[in-house]
Symmetry: D2
Subunit: 355 residues, 4 copies
Amino acid sequence: MYFASDNAAGAHQKISDSLLKHSSGFAGSYGASDLDKKVEAKFSEIFETDVHVFFVSTGTAANALALSASAKAGGIAICHEDAHVIEDECGAPEFFTGGCRLTPVAGDGGKISINTLSTIMSDLAPENVHHGRLMATTITQATELGTLYTVDEISALADICHQHNVPLHMDGARFANAIAFSNVTPAQMTWRSGVDYVSFGGTKNGCWCAEALICFDKEKAQEISYMRKRAGQLFSKSRFVAAQFDAYFEDDLWLDLATHSNLMAQKLSNGFENSSFADLAYVPQSNEVFVVMSPAKALKLRENGAVFYEWPLPRSHSSELSTLVSSGKQLYRFVTSFQTTPEDINKLINILNAD
Amino acid sequence: MYFASDNAAGAHQKISDSLLKHSSGFAGSYGASDLDKKVEAKFSEIFETDVHVFFVSTGTAANALALSASAKAGGIAICHEDAHVIEDECGAPEFFTGGCRLTPVAGDGGKISINTLSTIMSDLAPENVHHGRLMATTITQATELGTLYTVDEISALADICHQHNVPLHMDGARFANAIAFSNVTPAQMTWRSGVDYVSFGGTKNGCWCAEALICFDKEKAQEISYMRKRAGQLFSKSRFVAAQFDAYFEDDLWLDLATHSNLMAQKLSNGFENSSFADLAYVPQSNEVFVVMSPAKALKLRENGAVFYEWPLPRSHSSELSTLVSSGKQLYRFVTSFQTTPEDINKLINILNAD
Amino acid sequence: MYFASDNAAGAHQKISDSLLKHSSGFAGSYGASDLDKKVEAKFSEIFETDVHVFFVSTGTAANALALSASAKAGGIAICHEDAHVIEDECGAPEFFTGGCRLTPVAGDGGKISINTLSTIMSDLAPENVHHGRLMATTITQATELGTLYTVDEISALADICHQHNVPLHMDGARFANAIAFSNVTPAQMTWRSGVDYVSFGGTKNGCWCAEALICFDKEKAQEISYMRKRAGQLFSKSRFVAAQFDAYFEDDLWLDLATHSNLMAQKLSNGFENSSFADLAYVPQSNEVFVVMSPAKALKLRENGAVFYEWPLPRSHSSELSTLVSSGKQLYRFVTSFQTTPEDINKLINILNAD
Amino acid sequence: MYFASDNAAGAHQKISDSLLKHSSGFAGSYGASDLDKKVEAKFSEIFETDVHVFFVSTGTAANALALSASAKAGGIAICHEDAHVIEDECGAPEFFTGGCRLTPVAGDGGKISINTLSTIMSDLAPENVHHGRLMATTITQATELGTLYTVDEISALADICHQHNVPLHMDGARFANAIAFSNVTPAQMTWRSGVDYVSFGGTKNGCWCAEALICFDKEKAQEISYMRKRAGQLFSKSRFVAAQFDAYFEDDLWLDLATHSNLMAQKLSNGFENSSFADLAYVPQSNEVFVVMSPAKALKLRENGAVFYEWPLPRSHSSELSTLVSSGKQLYRFVTSFQTTPEDINKLINILNAD
């Protein structure tokens, strides 16, 4: 009953097999191998357009590189106040960009609203050397609270960004879960809706280390290649990242794995919803479930082997949620993964509901 | 007959098997797993002292992190003018350190001589805000030319550094080859000789991505952990780097692989030495062989399937070498690896010597 | 009737005379002159302790240098959300610190409250490599809204900082006004209350370019000297900054000038208070007066020669203030200076009150 | 007899008078005053083209800003190995550019030769992510050794730069001396010869703090304005820099002062040349004189009141010079300024030649 993080799940058998299969022989290094080229072409096929693909070692690196591609003196990037880039990356975006700023904004359910973005960008738009100037907006899909932006919302956010001549970046650490949950294609969710960069994560969804920055703007690609190398993020044996993605995309494994973890999250959330001992904090749209319950119940779950985190109230939260939590209960996060089983969920819910 | 780079070799079967073996189940992320802890302890055992181990994605990242741990305003790090840090890392050391400077010095055989280091450090030692100030020295072991520093040389270099209160860093991208070739322990080659940081590379020697910064100074360790995260270099599924090192160290696999590639380099260099069509540029002490021959011979080798690089004259080179090269011949680099076979070398030398 | 900014006032005659007086002859450069030494000693006398004084060209540079003296990977500095460092310095603090972050907090009257600081620092205190870690707090005295922290408040804020092992920096762009208004000594307002760095501004108060970073911590001084030079902030003819401060401190000119501008602000605020056409937004405690009035009245003042800025609502503001402003009125800022005359104020108020 | 540095000379009376004259009244800050605009127009007149002028506090800041305008990931700027940017700026260029590299090259008389630049740029031109890439070349006019580039040389250097699509920057800390000595216009010496940026120094030539970055490329100007502010280099009372330049250009004061100091350098160098106790190291073409003499003679001069520096051998130096110096003699630097008098020089030479 391991729900602490999808990072805690290992690697899918097919990913490991692919690594094994490509272990022998010799191949070009630093991205020059045939396998690297094949996978890059596969990304273009998936996104239905020619994309530039930059393998990096972590999602943090992908996010920071994307922002550094837009960096300028006095640059300001807008993000949600609960976003990974500002909460969990130790200042990597600021470091990679030479000191640009992240300006956090509030928003329900981990999402930046169209109105909020419009207001803050208008507020910061009049360029002058004192205030600094807009350089990018970054959103997370699926969000840190397990919710999703609709394609219409993404389009509207992108429009606002482009009116101000700055790009829209999508942190897709759980991009597969977002695609699997919704009924849209990768192209629709990204560049067709105006997204300029995607941090495409495979690690949380069954790879062991497969992260890529996807760049739809050819003119930025050369710059990024230097920025990546300068950041110590160019793998010599790059083909082993390629090998993971090769298996990841084969027969839509990536969507199968994400569909599974999403279904497990649904099953888990149903269990919580039907329990008198728990209250769902958000309606899950990917593989994260946030729930409010008593510390006593949490303790009981843990004593029976469940692993999960108590979670601080998001900086942006509804008054209902804070009321729930303030009454002696706590917020907890459960993350499902490709390795989560229905049996584990049944067991968890049974323990929860046992008097 | 693939001699272009040890980066072009794949991964050893035992490394891949270990990745496969550790794929299932759940484990702590970001270095918290039991396997991470086990491997960290193994490093301490190998170095015969408690070390701090920082897994990173590339040797460039390890080098840049080590230097950033010593960074200060106006900081100057001394390196060999043919070193990887200054020739092949796209400014990563400068970027990580917030703009510190690498000051290159000349030296025969890819090595900084004791006299040279003593002179340059004395020259730069009088601290004033105009010139800047010393912050570190970095050497490569084995060097970029396949040669080795002796333990006495390392001790003497470290003494000079410490007289000036700056640390000595060792870029050990081919550390295993250096240990396997010499008759000294990892402890002797490093901290017992005064080395403060080692970039410990496993990738070139049969891993697919296993690089670590080894820090002997406990006080610096906490800072480095933040610097690593800020650089997007903290793997979420860190245990898969640990899994590689676990197999790498098991039954001294690392030394066996390095011994093999060193022997292949010796065999290759013997073949060149005994040929009337080639002149060795350096006596190889690890797994790189530099040889001068005619472009016609190089072409013939390539036409028969050999893969290797023409190599520019090192910035530091003897007059003999430049004379050799200027007479219509070229310098070429051959790198052996754990996958190099005696058959390949025999075949290569036979082609070379065929009329 | 020039109330746009104290930066718009020229230089006091005695400052200019001192520049003229010290123009002839030769003297040591880069801070080595007798005059530099004399002024440094004078700073120590004023602050009643040995201080390190770093002349820089702007208040922005002083602030950014102070923060860079505390910089660390993942570093977070707390500031008020309306502070100059985050609103008006184009990311200089982030740039100087290599990408550290300013975390803005709300607070009435331009001030960080003790409770707010205590909460945010406790919130951010548990160090981990994901969130980053505290590195400093910076306050402004007098604040951007013309208000003052009491010595007790400063002490309490400093205590919280020191409990978390980070320094407290004071942006003293209008330090003279703060001292002149209150009944405390420079020592009491700073290091005796726990302040570690002061950006000591002379420019707004009658100098033409006289800014200094005052450092009470001897151990940091050497580092700052390199950081200043690296930032291109070490004047070759440093003695001309010294010449300004020399006159500035002579016979307490600095306090006389600040007292005058404070009195002018009081007179102006009295005028507003007694007018039925204006509402004071804050009780001024230095030389800035914020007032709410109708755009028609503002236009009339301008048509009659008054120069002043319409001001956006501070990010932190009371509901009363936003109510006032939302009813068709606007917030305006008036800044007095050593050149402001009672006649100008009388004239302004008369125009305001003329039906 | 003060020859230590032109930085040690004070300010010319007309400069101080102008500061005094513009002290009263109110004016726009941050470069918005009429005086700022007037001086900017004057720069355009002097350079016979529309230029963008950025006042900064030091020559180091001007140089670093110019290079940061060309910064890119992995960027490499070529400079002379004895240049101020690499010898005396504490890493400011690297800091401002986010870690770009200065690659020093040798050259007689403080000058980069056309052949040297052509070779190094061709060597570094093939862009790849490992080596980094060219971003700029910077030369000093007059050089640190008091010599001058001819207009033909500048044109040839600029052509090489532009073939590689990088700009040529001129560090003109002693630009006035260069113009006054040669028979060419500011336009000819700069943009008509292909120079893209000039650090225009007034401080060494009679101002107290008047430095400007001149940018001939309109497209870069907006970026530089943000970079300047971010570096804490935007003066609030910018008009006082303007006031200095206003007097500096009035009736060609700048050229008169430079002509004077150049003549004093000629007189001094004649004195050395005609003495049997001294050997000129370089033929001076501006206001610096380098001479070799015995330490005994130097001591005697100092005992009689002369102030000057012993100077290390330039990194680039002729064998003749090193022979001269190795024979128990030393190299010394004498700098003349607008305040140097013929009497002082006569006196110095008389003391030198007295048995």
